[in-house]
Symmetry: C2
Subunit: 183 residues, 2 copies
């Protein structure tokens, strides 16, 4: 079974493809920018974004993800991509200087159109903000996020990131739904 993934982010597409393929689901890349609303809720942002894709694409999904840091009032959250582009990992590390509470979560929301209906799937990875950038793989905030159960950052983990990641969970739910109609 094939399903389209609408994203402008090559890294996201490759990561999602790797995860989905383990379930026997093949992803096709639907490139291009979509409209994203400002908001605090990833599911809502993803659903709105999905609705801007022509209805002839079905099944198709979008994914919105963010890093939520407790000590920063859950900043950068839904604006992670923008904030990463402006401040990078160093900006986050600077904001976290002198702060003991390092708890953070990566969250992912997938919005799927399937036979004209919309379904939303979520995934969360709990963890903490490292004290420095570590690792060469992945993208975005991967070098500063250490998932629970690991000593390594997402970036150091490489493909083993999928054992812990928010995106692996949401894409797994999507795959199970499409292939077996079960969450």
């Amino acid at each position: 079974m094939n399903v389209r993934f609408a994203t402008s982010n090559r890294h996201k597409f490759e990561e999602a493809s790797r995860i989905a393929s383990k379930f026997g689901l093949r992803l096709e890349w639907l490139k291009g920018e979509r409209i994203e609303i400002q908001g605090e809720e990833l599911g809502e942002i993803a659903e709105y974004s999905l609705r801007s894709i022509p209805r002839r694409y079905d099944p198709v999904f979008v994914e919105d993800a963010g890093l939520f840091i407790r000590a920063l009032n859950w900043f950068p959250g839904p604006y992670s991509s923008y904030v990463f582009g402006k401040l990078g990992n160093r900006g986050i590390l600077k904001l976290m200087e002198g702060i003991d509470d390092r708890y953070a979560e990566f969250r992912s929301a997938v919005a799927l159109r399937f036979r004209g209906f919309v379904a939303i799937f979520f995934g969360v990875a709990k963890g903490s903000i490292a004290f420095e950038e570590r690792g060469r793989h992945g993208f975005g905030f991967d070098p500063i996020f250490v998932p629970e159960g690991s000593e390594l950052t997402f970036s150091e983990l490489g493909e083993a990131k999928d054992r812990y990641s928010h995106r692996a969970k949401s894409i797994a739910s999507l795959s199970r739904f499409l292939l077996h109609r079960t969450f």
Copy 2:
């Protein structure tokens, strides 16, 4: 002449009313949240937001503003309101620690619907980021922004902020257009 200002921000409404009244324009407050898209261009965000207001409101305008800091790649920009809520002035001061280039701009974009058409008006205030919060008036990043030509922050300036502010310029253009059809 009356015109509606659609905003959920009481401070913005009061400030804009004060400015417009000097031109003889009276603002009415149209409260409530509107859809804002994610983007880097204030005019585009404001125009999109305007289109989510029912067409029976005419004339009506929205305003989108942001603080753009050069040394932070123009962060927080269009996401200023969100970032202020999460990090506050202290977060910005922390990001600016050890940085000599303090240059920043406040930008404002007004999108007006008038007789069914849309017009956009801009205003910019050049200035710099202070080294600490100063002043009690205004809102948002006002306590850390010093406009060119002043030693005081927007917050210390109180109503005298209108002599320098981005919003005073965009609302002045709006007022001249509505009252005299001239920019």
